[in-house]
Symmetry: C2
Subunit: 176 residues, 2 copies
């Protein structure tokens, strides 16, 4: 994985892929599937996301204030669904799904080697957690796998139904 | 356009399509392109979105407390980019881009006939507007064009580059 400039992070998240969110609690890594996220600011990149209190990751995210947002390629779809259908309360998901945890630079939460992008994040604002389970994260370091940077990603439509990235289209636009 | 049950709204927005946001100010409709949005709650559907103070729509959204989120099909890509590259300050965008404004039920902001989904929204929470330009909207009524409900949508990767929805994938999942 190579460094991904922070001002390009939005180009990976703005298209709305399903992501994996890793956390660590007392050295124990966990991972959940997440689709409720959006960019809030370009640079430094701010990202809003919703992690329900019902998710086991909620505590680790809240207490550590750290996470990694990892973007899985479409060929990881079965794993993405599997991760979403079990809980870190009961299972070591990295072991069960054969994911390789790699040490991050700025946070304790691990990177996922099988993912095409990994974004190290710190919780910046908890002001909307109580009301909406909405966290504002700041991306502090990001990584891309240059060989698979353009791999198709998944977009979740509910109950395990996905649209996979298809054709690319390039139009002239002055807007980021 | 037919009624779209409110508990299915997330299935249209969670995949992360580029959307058009319509507003109305003193009876004058306007529309902007938006990619920074996410679901916050299933039902009643709550949607977070970022509308910059620099956007002309900011004032209409803030003052009226109403908007429509419209999902354009991929074949509207040129229009989507065009809308993003001019301002309602200078142009009647509905006229310039040949969009048909239709009367909504619950809000003054118009529906867009050419879009495959239209979601009527009211601003529910402005608590994060000052700091992040982040609005929490509540969907109060939604519409789908049944003939084009599954049409491919656009995902914006920056500067007019899009990925278009490709293949569909259905896996077994208990999770909405």
């Amino acid at each position: 994985m190579r460094n991904l400039e922070l001002d390009k992070v939005y180009q990976k998240l703005e298209p709305g892929p399903v992501v994996l969110l890793t956390t660590a609690e007392c050295g124990r890594p966990n991972v959940m599937t997440m689709s409720w996220h959006m960019m809030v600011e370009f640079n430094p990149p701010l990202i809003a996301c919703v992690v329900s209190e019902a998710d086991y990751s909620f505590r680790a995210l809240s207490q550590s204030g750290e996470a990694v947002i990892a973007i899985p390629p479409a060929d990881l779809a079965e794993t993405v669904v599997g991760i979403g259908n079990c809980s870190g309360r009961d299972v070591d998901k990295f072991a069960r799904f054969g994911l390789t945890a790699k040490r991050a630079n700025e946070v304790e939460a691990p990177l996922i080697e099988q993912c095409i992008v990994n974004i190290e994040c710190k919780v910046l604002d908890r002001g909307m957690v109580k009301r909406y389970n909405l966290f504002i994260l700041e991306a502090v370091k990001a990584w891309v796998d240059p060989k698979r940077a353009e791999a198709p990603t998944l977009h979740h439509c509910g109950y395990g139904r996905f649209r996979i990235d298809g054709e690319e289209l390039r139009l002239r636009s002055a807007k980021p």
